[in-house]
């Protein structure tokens, strides 16, 4: 049934209220079950052997002594993992288990399943791996040089004409833009050109990857796993292992944080392979060290930004050259960076080019608005430099050039109604801007953008005989989706929120749902929930008509009940949802609503952040004094959870800006694979984070919803950089802006 997805600008009864989440009690009592919290009788412990070298040929793996160890039930190496995907998923397979070469420090080379932890550990020690060490490269700029070791000899740079004959670490070049860049710079009164570098960061979710895998000799299996997309994991694992999709049942546990890092498989296919070989359940729980070394951090980057503007503040030309390191497997992060660089602005002449580069680091994955924070750091820092050069207030400078409805975005499409202008105006007028600044304190602001995605979504709504409603959704709940979906179902049906219970269904119970990423959860599952509810309402109307014996056209649904309308039947007493549900067995059976949709028309989300920072000029130590997030949510289904996304993204951005980075030695090994030296913000590092939700409705969603989960990580890097500039008089061009870097900059500035 076709559904109209246009925004209807209705008044809401329950959507927008701050209800308690349905998974709250389970989570505060310790009852909620995460990836490592399930066990099975007879389960084996799965452990991985990992390369200690950044780049090495694997000449031999001898597992014979390990296999003889009592208690060892299965060992897997790449010899057990033929590519069954015709090359389509070979990168995924190779990242899960090294084939002829170890490509980064931590790359899995073998895995064992044994009766307990001690035996598994002993078995790993008995596996003899012979390595021939190869030259390595871990820096993005070094990796682009012709002198760098070529990591994959079958990668030829795409996006370049003519097609290169020699393999390269540059897997892709992407370009976006429009207008005449050269003319634009010629017309500028002021040009600022600057280069920046950002170091690699990890999503830092507190829950390590974990799964419980069971595969039987009949080719059927089950996987309990912490993931952002259990359907995606099912598809990928089935493909890699040659299993039928329908026969692999994947259940998503509660997820202890993902932020993009749990959208790819890491250990899961191997856990399944071990289980299949041993014919016993295998539990794999990654250690924190393994999470940092062998899952999917985001890219480290280097970039060149150039902005030209007239004295009156009009930007005449803008260009970004971005180099993003993808780890050892090709991806398209620089392309995304190139797309997002200038998305906030209405530019006549704009150009961005992105280079995706391989190096001997772990395969990169998405990290909340992937690729945007780094490009935004360069762009928004340079915007402040231009504003200062012209002598214009940085907020006014951005307002003058802000994109609006009808703007042709730098990455191609034309914008509908958007929030960048409103967030800037709100920032300008926010009380934060009038707060008094003390000694060594400075204020900065920055903007950010992120696309949102729609994608495949299925939802089932089933009405119990007492009128309470089960809602089965397929998008993993990372931030409160069950509460939001329940609000939406309750709104549509016209019943109290408490009458709806949402849960995340396993893969056997619903059709395919795309991964919870791209801020698509509320948008897509929300849309599917609306239509599933409307589907159910159709059925409820039919049943009421039957119960009354009147035509369907005379039945309408309002405020949770069926009402007979018209002069002929209008005096019949209304039938509540519970009344109809009670009689379902005799009116046609169980009542349900259902929807499959490829949610389309996702909106874009803009934000402006303001930050006050204090710098100790003698140590470079910093303290965030004040922070405000202003972001457009389209429609905040549950304001608490929207605020939570704003605050969480900002906190991650602050950590990224000030302290977080992957530190590699000259040997190509990761030196800080733990929370001690990979420094994420602690409670005493942050102030309260003020939030302001703007609602500029997305015209392509019935409620106007825009995804909110990601944009909030985009502005902080530059907001902090700009605040530091005003606090200490130094322009930082290297993220993280850690105390040694700040102190060095201060000393250089003082001469």
């Amino acid at each position: 049934m076709a559904h109209d997805t246009s925004f209807t600008n209705q008044d809401f009864k329950v959507v927008g209220t701050r209800v308690n989440r349905p998974d709250g009690v389970d989570k505060v009592t310790g009852r909620a079950k995460y990836g490592a919290d399930l066990s099975a009788p007879g389960q084996l412990v799965g452990l991985f052997l990992r390369s200690p070298h950044a780049h090495a040929r694997i000449t031999k793996i001898d597992t014979s002594r390990a296999e003889k160890l009592s208690g060892v039930k299965a060992i897997i190496t790449s010899a057990d993992l033929p590519d069954l995907t015709g090359g389509r998923q070979i990168d995924v397979l190779e990242n899960c288990m090294a084939r002829d070469r170890a490509l980064y420090d931590g790359h899995a080379v073998a895995a064992v399943a044994a009766i307990d932890q001690q035996t598994a550990k002993k078995a790993l020690k008995l596996i003899k791996v012979s390595y021939e060490i190869l030259p390595h490269v871990t820096d993005v700029d070094e990796a682009m040089k012709t002198s760098a070791p070529v990591i994959k000899d079958n990668i030829f740079t795409s996006g370049v004409d003519p097609k290169p004959k020699k393999p390269s670490n540059v897997s892709k070049v992407s370009e976006f833009g429009h207008g005449d860049i050269e003319a634009g710079f010629k017309a500028a009164d002021v040009i600022i050109e600057k280069s920046y570098k950002t170091e690699q960061t990890h999503q830092g979710y507190i829950e390590p990857h974990a799964c419980l895998a069971t595969v039987g000799p009949d080719g059927a299996g089950e996987l309990w796993v912490t993931t952002q997309g259990h359907y995606t994991y099912r598809t990928v694992c089935a493909a890699l292992l040659g299993m039928d999709i329908a026969k692999l049942k994947v259940t998503s546990s509660e997820i202890g944080g993902g932020f993009g890092g749990k959208t790819h498989v890491w250990v899961e296919p191997i856990a399944l392979a071990l289980s299949r070989k041993a014919n016993r359940p295998v539990k794999v729980v990654m250690t924190r060290d393994e999470v940092f070394r062998a899952t999917g951090p985001t890219c480290s980057t280097s970039m060149d930004i150039k902005i030209g503007a007239k004295k009156d503040g009009t930007i005449t030309a803008a260009s970004s050259v971005l180099r993003y390191q993808n780890g050892a497997f090709p991806a398209t992060w620089a392309m995304l960076g190139a797309m997002t660089s200038w998305a906030c602005y209405d530019l006549k002449n704009v150009h961005s080019i992105g280079y995706d580069v391989l190096c001997n680091r772990p395969k990169t994955a998405a990290y909340r608005a992937p690729s945007a924070p780094m490009a935004a750091f360069g762009v928004e820092s340079t915007m402040d430099l231009v504003a200062a050069e012209i002598g214009m207030n940085p907020v006014d400078f951005r307002i003058k050039n802000a994109a609006k409805e009808g703007t042709r975005a730098s990455y191609g499409p034309t914008y509908g109604p958007i929030g960048i202008g409103p967030t800037l105006e709100a920032a300008k007028n926010h009380p934060h801007m009038r707060a008094k600044l003390g000694k060594n304190q400075g204020r900065g602001m920055a903007c950010g953008f992120w696309f949102n995605f729609g994608g495949q979504t299925c939802t089932d709504l089933n009405i119990g005989s007492d009128g309470t409603v089960n809602l089965a959704i397929g998008t993993v709940d990372v931030g409160g989706a069950r509460a939001s979906m329940s609000l939406i179902a309750a709104e549509e049906l016209g019943i109290p929120y408490e009458q709806v219970k949402a849960h995340v269904a396993d893969t056997s119970s619903l059709g395919h749902n795309d991964t919870t990423e791209g801020s698509r959860g509320t948008f897509s599952s929300g849309m599917a929930t609306i239509f599933a509810a409307r589907d159910a309402i159709e059925e409820l109307r039919k049943r009421a008509a039957k119960m009354w014996g009147i035509p369907l056209e005379a039945v309408e649904w309002a405020e949770g009940e069926a009402r007979a309308v018209g002069s002929e039947h209008g005096n019949l007493p209304a039938l509540s949802l519970a009344d109809i549900a009670k009689r379902a067995a005799s009116t046609g059976g169980p009542i349900a609503g259902h929807n499959e949709v490829v949610a389309d028309g996702a909106g874009v989300s803009f934000a402006s952040h303001i930050c006050d920072i204090e710098v100790d000029p003698e140590t470079g130590g910093t303290k965030v004094i004040r922070y405000t997030v202003i972001q457009d949510a389209g429609k905040a289904i549950h304001p608490d959870y929207v605020e939570g996304q704003f605050q969480g993204g900002a906190a991650q951005g602050i950590g990224w800006a000030l302290n977080e980075e992957y530190i590699y030695g000259d040997d190509g090994r990761l030196q800080n694979s733990g929370f001690l030296d990979y420094r994420i913000p602690v409670c005493s590092d942050l102030p309260f984070i003020d939030t302001k939700i703007l609602e500029i409705p997305n015209p392509n969603h019935p409620y106007g919803v825009r995804g909110v989960g990601e944009t909030s990580i985009v502005p902080p890097l530059a907001a902090i950089g700009n605040a530091l500039s005003n606090a200490a008089g130094v322009r930082m061009d290297h993220v993280p802006m850690s105390p040694p870097r700040i102190l060095k900059a201060i000393e250089e500035a003082n001469g």
């Binding site: 009592t29 490592a36 979710y205 602690v682």
Partner: protein, 159 residues
């Protein structure tokens, strides 16, 4: 492998388990006693997700040997509610949306309870520093601190 029998009290109930001498209490509680409310975020005392109380003292259970629990009293998140009445901290965490993914929540609740049992009127700064040993990646700590403040207020009223 040598296992030792441990006699302990967990959340007021007598509990017995056997574990290898090198096993840490976090694993004993999770795998032997089945209390998966204790979470492993790092296993090295850097994240606080495994927080418990040991004879009333807040500790990371990953930094205590399982056998050290012998004869001691252990408190976990599973023991915070009184029957089906949630502890004020648990109530306020839900009320203030102080959890998103919830993996750090048990550790925060145990640590916050230890704070409030010791200091009934902590300042914002005192709360932040007392909870510095508990990492959260989802919330930015804002609503967590507010929830603790609200719980402290609620607990002071009860007295």
């Amino acid at each position: 492998m040598s296992s030792v029998l441990v006699d302990t009290t967990v959340n007021g109930d007598p509990v017995q388990f056997a574990c290898p001498t090198e096993e840490v209490l976090m694993d004993s509680l999770r795998d032997r006693v089945g209390l998966t409310g204790v979470k492993e975020g790092c296993g090295t005392g850097d994240c606080g997700a495994c927080s418990i109380t040991l004879d009333g003292q807040l500790v990371c259970s990953c930094l205590v040997l399982g056998i050290e629990a012998n004869g001691r009293k252990i408190g976990t998140v599973e023991g915070m509610a009184e029957g089906n009445a949630l502890h004020p901290l648990q109530e306020q965490f839900i009320e203030h949306a102080a959890l998103q993914c919830g993996i750090c929540t048990p550790g925060f609740l145990v640590a916050a309870k230890a704070l409030l049992d010791d200091n009934a009127s902590p300042s914002e700064e005192e709360i932040r520093f007392a909870l510095a040993g508990n990492l959260c990646r989802c919330t930015g700590y804002d609503k967590i601190v507010r929830a603790v403040q609200a719980a402290a207020k609620q607990m002071r009223k009860k007295k």
